[in-house]
Symmetry: C2
Subunit: 254 residues, 2 copies
């Protein structure tokens, strides 16, 4: 079996609202000295997708509700930021000073509903924050289709973010959106080496790929927001990243 | 930046109690056509570490306690298996029919306290299960030291397992033990691209590496329980995988 390779694509510019991520990706392949190939998996950082989709909110224009003001006092955060978190969320899952864990409207349980203000350029001293894409699976599918059209190649796309976790310290890369691969692989019915049914029933395939890509994406350096994983194969049917979200009624920890 | 490569080492035999994992690893490098190099990271599946350490329990010899019998009825599992889970755990975190989530004595919150009976050879029709290593960080350090001595190379070692997760479907690879690298990297104080402090404060470095390796380890095929990741670099100080366990008093979900 040939090794998996994980390569940060070079030459990705600062992304602005309206930018064409398909064109940026094709150019980044060339800049890295590579050609798109069938079976490539591209992991694209959520931040550049959100920027291209103009998901920036100018916090100074936000009018916080009474609920946001009360919650902001409890968590010791800016009430306008808390208002934006509430507007993106179904509900608040846990909170304490300096920590606000929300169930995003798409089901992700995450700090601040995924709203981030690092690596967003300040504009005239105004604080701006970045929301998640409206439909990360849809964004992944749109980029997958664009790349298929322009390159003629079968390329899968994952839109990645970093999540904190219950029980364990440190964030890890996860898949917010996916297209062209199985975000979850169902192993039920597969025998183990001794013919017994495997105890692991499902693997978070796209989450593992996003975690692998995160090793190359880095944190402070936005120069590698697009990462190429080459050498993966799978036989399970495609499934979007929404399948990675455990339905609340099957979740013992929500 | 050269790409990361992730390679499943070839020729790893079925591991038995008392086997020398250092010798097995050195032979697997050779079988794969590779030489150990400084900076290599080896991810070793927990199962072969547990087997080498003879952490197999013959379930038929276990006498279940009254507590185990009562809990087994609730979760619809074998009372002797539940007794083994209880003996490895500090407490039961959640349970329902067919699901038993325990806090392992080392702090991991995981299904069945990590006790597994897939890929354990049945002996004379007797059901045998595999416990986690007694001290996974210690096992990683012992293997790291052995490899350093035999190869003269600086090689980091991760002992990996697959965990289910709250909120998300599918298991992902995680690090149970680590030596020679920072299992957690602390980014506090690092500026983002615009000089603002990063919002991500800690990354689960060893967990991301274990997730990446899991893409190559596979599920049913035990032929690649040792995976080599080459091309990683880091500047943070070494930290064992026990640092990945969030202390219960800082955990909002336990």
């Amino acid at each position: 079996m040939s090794p998996l390779t994980i390569t940060g694509l070079r030459g990705v510019p600062f992304v602005k609202a309206g930018d064409d991520l398909g064109a940026i990706t094709i150019a980044a392949y060339a800049e890295t000295g590579l050609q798109p190939e069938d079976g490539d998996v591209l992991i694209v950082a959520q931040k550049i997708v959100s920027k291209a989709e103009d998901r920036i909110v100018n916090v100074s224009t936000v009018e916080p509700s009474e609920q946001a003001i009360a919650l902001a006092a409890e968590v010791e955060k800016d009430a306008r930021l808390v208002e934006v978190v509430l507007s993106e969320s179904r509900r608040i899952v846990r909170h304490r000073p300096n920590l606000l864990i929300a169930e995003h409207r798409l089901g992700y349980v995450m700090a601040n509903a995924g709203i981030d203000h690092s690596n967003v350029a300040p504009a005239d001293g105004v604080d701006r924050v970045l929301l998640l894409p409206v439909d990360p699976d849809g964004s992944a599918e749109a980029l997958r289709a664009t790349l298929a059209k322009r390159s003629g190649r079968r390329i899968a796309v994952i839109i990645s973010d970093s999540f904190g976790r219950p029980f364990r310290r440190g964030t890890v890369g996860i898949a917010l959106g996916a297209a062209g691969l199985p975000a979850v692989i169902d192993w039920r019915g597969h025998p183990d080496l001794f013919g017994r049914t495997l105890e692991v029933t499902e693997t978070g395939f796209a989450d593992e790929i996003a975690a692998a890509a995160s090793l190359v994406q880095g944190q402070a350096d936005e120069a590698t927001p697009i990462v190429l994983v080459r050498g993966l194969s799978w036989s399970a049917p495609d499934a979007p990243a929404s399948e990675l979200v455990r339905p609340a009624e099957h979740d013992l920890f929500r």
